[in-house]
Symmetry: D3
Subunit: 129 residues, 6 copies
């Protein structure tokens, strides 16, 4: 039980709490909880990404979200990018700012990666009009 005695950890919100702050009430719970392959993954992600990294002090959630969007766009994980672009919009970034962020990665991860990421943002923007 290594985390329990950690005083800094005690003060940090749970992964589930942080996840809800990022995605909003409606997206507060992952959807595939009944799947015996995916359920342990979701629980691990909740405990150890949301509850291990996202909930750290020292950088605003809005900026953490921009970091995650940049990484997912550069590495081509489209489904997760879609989810996190929605989180970024929920945290206050605008579609135009996110378009610029994705254009910015073009110089560093290539225009093809940027193109794919902007396709995802375009789809989100059109579906929410």
């Amino acid at each position: 039980m290594n985390e329990q005695q950690s005083p800094t950890n005690d003060a940090r919100p749970s992964g589930a709490t942080i996840r809800q702050r990022v995605f909003g009430e409606a997206n507060g719970q992952p959807t595939a909880q009944r799947d015996s392959v995916l359920e342990p993954f979701f629980q691990t992600a909740l405990d150890h990404v949301w509850g291990g990294v996202w909930n750290r002090p020292g950088l605003e959630l809005k900026y953490r979200s921009l970091v995650v969007v940049s990484v997912l766009a550069a590495t081509g994980h489209r489904e997760e990018l879609k989810t996190h672009l929605r989180g970024a919009l929920h945290l206050g970034w605008t579609v135009d700012e996110l378009r610029e962020a994705l254009l910015q990665i073009a110089g560093y991860a290539g225009f093809s990666a940027a193109h794919e990421a902007l396709d995802v943002l375009s789809e989100i923007a059109r579906s929410s009009e």
Copy 2:
């Protein structure tokens, strides 16, 4: 001359100007201008990354810098990461905030990529103490 007639482009600062804003006076010029292999690259980067992406309106330089740092950390380009971490510090991010940004990528690009990026930040932090 496709760019010349573009009215939006006319109002944008040059790549060299933006590069200096990001890295500061001392780092305003790339260093290997005499190399016939590298010189065309530096000029192209200045014209088409600094003068094509970084100088766009719609997202602050400070946030563009965070995007670039995240992409370079995720994709393992250490030398460029070092340069851009210095730019990020110059634009107002603190060492602690950048540490948190690099820790944040651990969940998405893996802890090994984060470790390598934090080694670079640690080196910068120690050299500037």
Copy 3:
């Protein structure tokens, strides 16, 4: 004819034989043999991956399969991952063990890569129930 004189190679099973051991009788032959673009690829893979790497002595097929599944999950090649997860099951790994293997990569290739790989495993697990 560099391979013919090689005494160690002579003792090794052919690529086709090994491929059948990994995937089972039903999957013993690739399916697109008539395609003039893909046929040379399948033949090259059979001769030089199955007959050049997989058929080497010194590591059990079951462990070679785990190595391949890990690499494909980390690098996001979903279709090949699906094929090789089936091979891994045929060689004796259980769905639960493979779920743990894919969860293990989360820390090193990121939770997004793990998520995508687990989606593939989940699909296989549900289709074979």
Copy 4:
């Protein structure tokens, strides 16, 4: 206005001109110009990839095309690969030569990346029969 005074740049064809040479008349214009997320990307790519890299002297378009196809196949950007395989055919490469180029990457980016790229080429070859 950094590019305007550059004498070498003045002599270079515009990005739009080069793009048309690579893809042919019918593909001379990107299709999603009305999308406020994608339009700035297409303009930036036209000005700064087509008008910044592709239009440089010193290497034939046909060879630049082979470089781009190789990079996109190795990094798994399928949609862009499809577009650029069509460009490569337009510039004079044959289906058989491109098949060999994609088989060549198998040794360096892995047989899975080659397989995915050859699937794209196979689709193009079958659709144009």
Copy 5:
């Protein structure tokens, strides 16, 4: 405190315990604990990779180690690969088996990635002779 109430988690060994089992007594503690940039990373990795993934039931440590070695070799993280190859040897894999595992990745992540990984293994093998 999301982890505290989890009954399955209660039974799992701590990250520090697992890390010591993998690397052995001498490598039981990370070395840069005093570095304010790296220390939070090591603690996070201990709590959330070692204590979140490695300590899960359902797959032997020896096989988890093979998965990690495969991922690090495929993605080119040499320093971490070196550390984890040592862990793999400590857990009972032989140099010859690990050589075969790294040769196996050649077909899937490319011979260049395999070459770099085998250079690391070769260095370890020679230093321990």
Copy 6:
């Protein structure tokens, strides 16, 4: 012995022959033959990359070399890139053409990958002056 009966394979030069054509007499043999970790890798690469892919008919060695250089530059394998840039020069590409090829990848694999590759080419160019 799957390859022995193949009539097309019989007519193809051995891997060792092709390797020597690409790198020239002086580089005709890999250097670390005595290393029990690396020797099987070099033999496998000779038999199955040089003797399985490079020796295929249908695309000139010079173009295969350009494909390999592009892939290695895009994926950041510097040591192999250095070796293959030397092969490309031996096969008739000029330093200026290779500089343009590496600049071309900037738009698709990012300017950071291009920068690293051009550093390698610059080093080769300076050492051969």
